[in-house]
Amino acid sequence: MSNDNILLRVDGVGKEYDGNRVLKDVNFTLEKGKILGLVGENGAGKSTLMKILFGMNVIAETGGYEGSIYLNGEIVNFKDPVDALKAGIGMVHQEFSLIPGFTTAENILLNMEKTKSSVISKVLGKRLETIDMPEIKKSAQRAIDTLGVNIDTDTLVSEMPVGHKQFIEIAREIDREDVKLIVLDEPTAVLTESEAEILLHAMRKLADSGISIIFISHRLHEITSACDKIVVLRDGIVIVEKPTEGVNIRQIAEWMVGREIEKRAEIVHRDVKTQIQRDDDIIFEAQNLWVDMPGETVRDVNFKVRRGEILGIGGLAGQGKLGIPNGIMGLFETGGSMFFNGKPLAVNNTLEALKEGIAFVSEDRRGVGLLLDEPIDWNIAFNAMQVQNKFLKRYFNGLISIRDDKAMKAVAEKYIHELEIKCTSEKQLSRNLSGGNQQKVCLAKAFAMNPSLLLVSEPTRGIDVGAKKLVLDALRKDNEENGTTIIIISSELEELRSVCDRIAIVCEGQIYGVLPPEAEVADYGMLMAGEYKINEVGDKQWQR
């Protein structure tokens, strides 16, 4: 099937990270001057695919990839991003890579500056050519005009609104000579409605000028309105590759979240009946909660947690689900009000939250969850010691409290046994444990405090299957035996559906709806994509 008009052909591409398969036999094509919408949940393999396409070093470092990629009919294998740039592939990342103290023009032509040669540069090399600022401005202006936005080339990037920065990033990519393909990774996430509109128009203009675009977005209506073709990735496989015409949003949502009826049977729902939960016995409530967690902003969240339940919080990355537990614990600047056991709970006060009996297992295991350079027993006992004065021997009427090493050892051994933590002894440094065992240590730290409310953030991220099951079982056991109320925040919807009593879906910093685990997959997908909200009564409110 050779077509002269095909720019990019991805043929049987697969990728494995340390035995963990992320991509399996991915195939699709992109024609010249067309826009391809790439859709998928977190972990579906989108970013790995883009890394392969862009020749990122991690790919080569972890053993390369299978299959081949053809650009203009020729097989390509980029050694590094610079190679990819030379071949005419541009990428706009989610996080801005702009120099704040540079002007618009300087940023658009960063490291592609127009220069004038002089006698000195002829002797001492090209890097001593002088910068030709008027030419740079002219070139930048051209790129901005192509996009159809109005940005002054002399403004400093540090003094401009977020939306403009996104346009500058794109302008930089199209300013390169013979750019053929641009990848836009969630470009509309930071834009206002009208700015997003302008961007979609600009994309079409670019496409008409012959540049192909891969457009990644979770806003499904943008995909249907702007793209020529849609590719849905799930679990590393291309689920669908078809023209956008005639595809509706609900279908995409279903493809994206997937795992249809035949898989439904595998979900082992927990026996909710074992727990008596009542709508009027509320252990925790949040009202108008906002959390300023970079990259996971919570804007306005309201929810109630019933005593004794396991509540799941799901949603796509960057939408704010991780901000909720971090905000409750006061780890990032937070506002709004919270109630615990009917009493107000101070915001921005980690110590009080801990003292009240709320424990938190952070998603950032190595960054927040562990003292990597200290032994396991320290890690497990630390919070209980500092907050609840456990594992201490007191002298002089409590004036001096000395660590009780024996008690610490005992508790560490107990959890090493219970959670099957694989280690040489309780004195092993937590740095030297595997990811799964580190996660178990984090759990043990929370259990050691005997919390009445336990927040667990991404409990199974990056750990192997065996450890995953153990972690989830341990959580369920704690809930059933000790009556601990648990909130699990996870990107893996299936996991939430298998252990939770109710699941709240977060989108754009708000809770878009709370669903029972057995609700239809497409409904989850629509909530995650923010197409509609479901209120407490179950009515759908369309957002777009």
Binding site: T350, G369, D373
Partner: protein, 344 residues
Amino acid sequence: MAEVNKFIKNFGWPRIIIGGFLLTLFIVAPIFGVRIDTSLNDVIVRFGMSAIMVLSMVPMIQSGCGLNFGIPVGLVAGMLGAVTSIEFGFTGMAGILVAFLVGILAAAVFGFLYGQLLNRVKGDEMIIATYVGYSFVFFMNMMWLILPFKNPTSVQGFKGEGLRVTISIQDYWFHKISDFLALPISSSFIFPTGMLLFFCFMAFLVWAFFKTKTGTAMTAVGSNPDYARAAGININKMRTISVILSTMIAAIGIIVYQQSFGFVQMYNSPLAFVFPSVAAVLLGGASVNKASIANVIIGTLLFQGILTMTPSVINSAINIDVSEIIRIIVSNGMIVYALTRKAR
């Protein structure tokens, strides 16, 4: 072979080289007519004199404030204690205790302010601490001139005001700690039991402190501040406590040094202790954010060993005095090495 490699990795090349060098010096010393007992005496005395100052590095390193390049802040507090004690004419053990007391009080105040400053400049502590140390010394130099000290032992003779550059403590509390239970082993080797006991006492206090709840929290702050914050610990408070502790220990350290040395050196003298103290603890195996009592003992022994042995042995051997240069290269090289190691 793997065992050997592991040992080298754990122990670190700098220590193996310096340790080996020191051992060689001791072995060849008799060949060049350098008496071993004199050498041992010198090493042990100098160890006792400077070990507490090196110990003062530990709390700040453990709490994540980095190497205490601002140690002059504490040393000045100790000097203030010493001259105050002399001013009021306390002699003997009482003199030292008063010096300790005043020094510790001053160190608490200075340390608190110094700690508040360092809390506002997280990430840049070391360079700022260095300059704070220097600025503070010159500020106090003005104070030494202005403060109304009157005791003729301390003030400049011809003017009757302004402190001398070196103040003799011969008549006050010279060697009062050093000579406590001192054991004369040979004519030129007097074991300064008191001074070493006192170091052990201080080291025990520091060790015990790090076993308390607060000490544990402090270690966690240094090891991973985000972890500590998630456990509800007030990071700035822990850091301030560590800075106060370091400053107090440094104040005690300089008084112990002075009682053995026989003089209170004023004015720019604290600046001479900065890099040697930092280098010693690093030489002992500490890193920018982890230090232990063992690091202090090993480091001070190695560092002072080199300082005492190189002039005597190498001078006798080849008649060249390279000790000063070896000191500069070893101490500053050690610090550069530690700063360029990847922080884990």
